[in-house]
Symmetry: D2
Subunit: 143 residues, 4 copies
């Protein structure tokens, strides 16, 4: 498992008339943290898209909103890759303000071909960068 976290400030754009962070905007924080987690492993999403024609897409998300974040809060957003599989990643993404957990979330990502939109195997460069053991089974061509 690869652990990663990044600080994130709450700005006015993130809040709503209830005085708290709008529920959809946590997903923006989560995506930023995942991008930074990949960057910290040497993986660049634009390069992946333009050179290898590969995109990461979200397949599913589960999130529990435990307590609200407010304007000016400094949050810690995690992106822990808890499962690295041939064609998908499972990323656990709690969000904290200090010691208090505000969000519990889990995101499943898949890799797709940017041209066809079809699910494909994660590039070896990505698997290697994430520290996964890259194994080429003799039947890989059948997938």
């Amino acid at each position: 498992m690869r652990e990663f976290s990044t600080p994130t400030r709450v700005y006015i754009e993130d809040t709503d008339a209830g005085g708290v962070v709008f529920y959809a905007n946590y997903l923006r924080y989560l995506e930023r943290a995942r991008t930074e987690a990949l960057r910290s492993c040497g993986i660049s999403l634009p390069e992946l898209q333009h050179e290898q024609r590969r995109l990461f897409v979200v397949k599913s998300i589960k999130a529990d909103y435990l307590a609200p974040a407010r304007l000016d809060d400094e949050l810690t957003v995690h992106a822990n890759m808890i499962e690295i599989k041939r064609a998908s990643l499972v990323c656990q993404q709690p969000v904290f303000r200090g010691d208090q957990q505000l969000l519990e979330s889990s995101v499943i990502l898949a890799c797709i071909d940017a041209d066809t939109g079809r699910a494909v195997r994660l590039p070896d460069s990505v698997l290697g960068a994430l520290g996964a053991s890259v194994t080429h089974s003799p039947t890989a061509g059948a997938h």
Copy 2:
């Protein structure tokens, strides 16, 4: 169960550099549909906030992204209240483009006191408007 759906157009603001709707933006569609579902029952969120000091907040969400939506798509966003409880609502919210389902999602909402942020019973006016049977148990005052 109360069923509701509303059409939603995909605009440029909703898309990302992958050419599809950004995953967080579906949650904006879902919230609009829930607001319209409540409005269709005669429930106004600003009135609820300003007159009764009650807010609906999202407690949890589960979403499966089945297929991407693209610029200019006309989506049908559902907000089906499948459980109406004393202090929470469960809202099932699939999103379709024509016959094709793009998103499967389920959202749990709670009602909170706007001043204290604490979970409270849904106002009778809301329960009544949603068609729930409003029962006053003798011990209701204890809650």
Copy 3:
């Protein structure tokens, strides 16, 4: 001049902790109205992008915020094409709530080649659809 307007509802996603619509979000409303104005003339932005490799981009905006919009407000967003030139459009975009004007704005759009990013002449199909007189000067080929 071609006049167009479209109704727009204010949702929670649009508001901020000040209780009003966040200033950047008016630009989302303006873009929706421009897209609908073009659609009402038979112009589809995705078709323009995919078939003719042409994109509209904003070159400049001026906006005066006259009064705040609030949750649940029904706004009327205008997109009046007041100048249609060979390579740009000037769109005047006031926003009203009933009789009260909330925003005064003016947006200049240019047409670019989706592949090179360079400014290009508006396609004849667009000029024609907007009701501009399409004149081919003998030297047009030199541009």
Copy 4:
């Protein structure tokens, strides 16, 4: 004049199907930079709102989009307070990627009473923090 700038990364949430940063999202960057500029002077917007019942609101904006920002770009967003007046601030906010200017913008902010929404004088604490000379004219009470 007080100069300030802050680095800002472009994330997927900021881009659109044209592959570039959506025009409204620059205004989110500008707001973050203004907030950080105020913070760097010791001014907290939530404190201002909750303790003094004062909000800053945008009165007008002018922006010229010179060149597009793209996914993963590292931008420098400026917030230069070029005029500090009794009831308003003028903030010049160019955005750069390295040496290349992508946006030219100017924002006028006013201070309002959070309860009445009416324009009011900037609090002395803010004027002082911004380095403006705070002068109490004998007739100030009449305003």
